[in-house]
């Protein structure tokens, strides 16, 4: 089996087979990360540009780290220091990056569809590090990777995604990844943030936390963005927490072996109580660590790497 995809733009377009290939490759790279020398020469001599036109800590650092572990040279550019502040168009910025001999472009952008747009313009691989409310494919891949580490196959597993689904690219990427992997996905939150149109993506939509959490093996919390309050999507953070915040009592409704996930950044005391975020069921920091191996796999495969070799090298 071989990897043929040049860009990673969405999970929606990936096949189950491709998702499994990325996970297998990530698994191999994860072993390397446990060694004393955490570096392989896979992308030596290649230059990867991290173009982050929207703020990010985790994703940007994890991509940076992943590229370095593969021995690539990495240059990070953010909105504040790029010429986009001088009015340069995205096309021009990207074409200049390519002209500077970059071998791969990682893009984070607030406008949905921007990575697809760039993939049509550039000759080099484009990796989506999050576009608007559309997709965040590497997050979906690392989240499902983490779930597989805990449960093995995800077939038939009950996964609940709780919070601001409407504006979440993480939710969309996870819905696509999880449904392809055979999990049963339930989306929960206030009806203004979890519209029924999500059913079309293959998920169940619920506004009843208790029923939704009953026997769930995974609950993934999403950050409640403060600005949603002023846009009248819900009355107040306090009311949100009282209706949908995850606390100890509500966590009791979960399956005994359930894990608690969050892509970060966390609002402690809003969508999740502190003791749960730091508790034994939380895998939030595992997700962050797995982000490196998964992104190594993506960078490696999209630059033409052969999955079997990555695995053999480990």
């Amino acid at each position: 089996m071989s990897w043929t995809r040049k860009h990673l733009l969405t999970i929606e377009e990936l096949s189950l087979d491709e998702i499994n290939q990325i996970h297998a490759t990530a698994s191999a790279f994860k072993k390397i990360l446990g060694r004393n020398v955490k570096k392989v020469p896979a992308l030596r001599g290649k230059t990867i540009v991290n173009l982050f036109l929207e703020p990010s800590t985790r994703t940007r650092m994890a991509f940076d780290m992943a590229a370095k572990r593969l021995s690539a040279d990495v240059i990070s550019v953010d909105a504040a220091t790029s010429s986009t502040t001088k009015g340069e168009t995205l096309r021009d910025t990207a074409q200049n990056i390519q002209a500077l001999n970059a071998d791969m472009l990682i893009i984070r952008h607030s406008a949905s569809g921007s990575p697809l747009y760039l993939s049509r313009i550039l000759d080099i691989p484009v990796i989506n590090a999050g576009d608007g409310a559309h997709e965040h494919p590497t997050q979906g891949l690392l989240d499902t990777f983490t779930m597989k580490e805990h449960f093995g196959s995800l077939k038939g597993r009950k996964v609940v995604i709780l919070g601001d689904i409407l504006f979440s690219r993480v939710a969309r990427s996870n819905i696509h990844a999880l449904t392809k992997l055979g999990a049963a996905v339930t989306l929960v939150g206030p009806s203004t943030l979890v519209p029924h149109s999500f059913r079309d993506l293959g998920a169940t939509v619920s506004h009843d936390l208790k029923t939704a959490l009953a026997d769930a093996e995974v609950v993934m919390l999403l950050r409640i963005q403060h600005e949603r309050q002023s846009s009248s999507h819900f009355p107040s953070l306090g009311e949100y927490t009282s209706m949908f915040g995850l606390n100890k009592a509500r966590a009791e409704w979960l399956h005994p072996k359930a894990i608690i996930m969050h892509p970060g950044p966390i609002n402690r005391g809003v969508e999740i109580d502190s003791d749960l975020a730091d508790g034994s069921r939380s895998v939030i920091l595992e997700q962050v660590s797995n982000g490196i191996a998964v992104r190594m796999a993506v960078l490696y495969l999209c630059s033409g790497g052969i999955p079997e070799q990555a695995i053999a090298g480990a």
Binding site: R91, A111, S114, A133, H134, R172, P195, D200, L201
Partner: protein, 430 residues
């Protein structure tokens, strides 16, 4: 004296219920019943064998961008695109830079029309100063300066009170109001239809309800004031239903639909192609079908293009940042022949009516018919000719068309304005 004789044409003039093979006679720019033998001898003769001769098409919704945005389109280039599409009369919107909210700007536009236009171009004025939805523009003076309607197209008047007063005031001058129906409080940041596709694509949605609310508002205000309100580019199925219901009360409300809203849906947006971004946005298949049925039963009165040029570099951006609007004039007839005649079994005469005397009647324009005594504004088209639209070779200054490289059946061959051939076989002759 100039005399024109069009022979062998299949003449379709819905306004005078004419649908027959025959000749059209023109003397000094006016359609006449016949020519003398001597006149026939000296006439310019056009053999229209195999062609349909219909009234020059009328579009009551175009953006020609002058003054201020001549990089996108000018009255000269826009009118040439119109001529190439078979249009002889168009009405341009006042959302220029500065907006046409004063008589000086109207005069500027009229001067440009006089100087540059190859067809009849008529101006509209704003409803409110600067299209800000607050103070009324000098509507009476605008009327005196020659506007055929008032509209804040693109920026729907949000205040019901302002709209009510504008309607009452404009009624005094027998001036229709054209409204772009959009409750903007519900569409902040929106770039496409709200629904399954916006959910999938992660783009901010523009709900039908935001159109339905303002359509309802206008239906109510028209009934209350007796003013004529024309509802622009209807895109929502429920709006069609609301209009249908209220039209039974004989209120003075008219409405239009665009070729793109009857041909395309938001399904096409998977590609994030900015040539599919316009306002109101492409909606669902159910909406598309409802609009076609609205046109069929007369709920929607006419077709208009909302021809909205933008340069390639303005459109070549992230979807969120690209401006709204697409070209329409050079493809409208072909798209309507395909969607309405071929795919939805409208008669040819019905579709021609929707693009000629029906829109003309909405604004009381002296256009849209081949009746004796009418201006000789004529479109000759070949209903069977296959062609491919290349926006880059079109007459508009811009290329932002979703139909670039699309193949059609049915092509404008000649456009005649006041008895003068302004477009023939791919060339502007004016």
């Amino acid at each position: 004296m100039s005399v024109l004789w069009i022979t062998n044409a299949h003449i379709i003039d819905p306004a005078s219920k004419r649908d027959e093979k025959g000749s059209l006679f023109v003397r000094n720019g006016i359609l006449v019943a016949s020519l003398s033998a001597a006149e026939k001898k000296s006439s310019k003769k056009i053999d229209a064998k195999g062609l349909i001769a219909c009234p020059g098409l009328v579009d009551i919704h175009v953006h020609f961008r002058e003054p201020g945005q001549g990089h996108k389109e000018t009255i000269g280039t826009g009118s040439r695109a119109a001529a190439a599409g078979g249009f002889t009369t168009v009405v341009c919107m006042p959302n220029t830079s500065p907006p046409a909210d004063n008589t000086g700007t109207i005069q500027f536009i009229k001067d440009a029309i006089e100087r540059d236009a190859v067809i009849k171009v008529l101006p509209t004025g704003c409803i409110t100063v600067g299209m800000k939805g607050q103070a009324l523009a000098p509507i009476g003076s605008l009327k005196r300066a020659g506007v055929v309607a008032i509209t804040d197209d693109g920026d729907c008047v949000q205040s019901n009170e302002v709209m009510r007063r504008a309607a009452e005031y404009a009624k005094m001058f027998n001036l229709p109001l054209m409204d772009h129906c959009q409750d903007s409080s519900m569409t902040q940041g929106s770039v496409m239809n709200e629904g399954i596709m916006s959910t999938r694509l992660g783009l901010r949605g523009w709900p039908n309800a935001a159109e339905d609310l303002i359509v309802s508002r206008n239906l109510i205000l028209s009934k209350y004031t007796g003013a004529h309100i024309h509802l622009q580019h209807i895109s929502s199925a429920y709006s069609v239903e609301l209009i249908r219901l209220h039209k039974k009360e004989k209120i003075k409300v008219t409405s239009e639909a665009t070729p793109h809203h009857i041909a395309l849906t938001d399904e096409a947006l998977s590609s994030y192609d900015t040539a599919l971004k316009m306002n109101p946005p492409l909606r669902t298949e159910a909406d598309r079908k409802a609009i076609i049925e609205g046109l069929r039963d007369g709920t929607i009165d006419c077709i208009s293009t909302d021809h909205a040029p933008h340069t390639d570099y303005e459109k070549d951006r992230e979807f969120d940042y690209a401006p709204n609007g697409i070209l329409g004039l050079e493809t409208a007839l072909a798209v309507c022949l395909d969607i309405l005649v071929k795919k939805n079994k409208f008669s040819l005469s019905k579709v021609i009516g929707l693009m000629t005397h029906k829109p003309a009647a909405i604004l009381g324009l002296n256009a849209g018919t081949l009746a004796v005594g009418a201006p000789a504004d004529i479109c000759l088209f070949d209903p069977t000719e296959k062609w491919t639209y290349d926006a880059k070779k079109g007459f508009s200054k811009s290329v932002n068309s979703p139909w670039h490289n699309s193949s059609f059946v049915g092509k404008t061959k000649m456009t005649i304005v006041d008895g003068k051939v302004v477009y023939s076989s791919g060339k502007i002759l004016a």
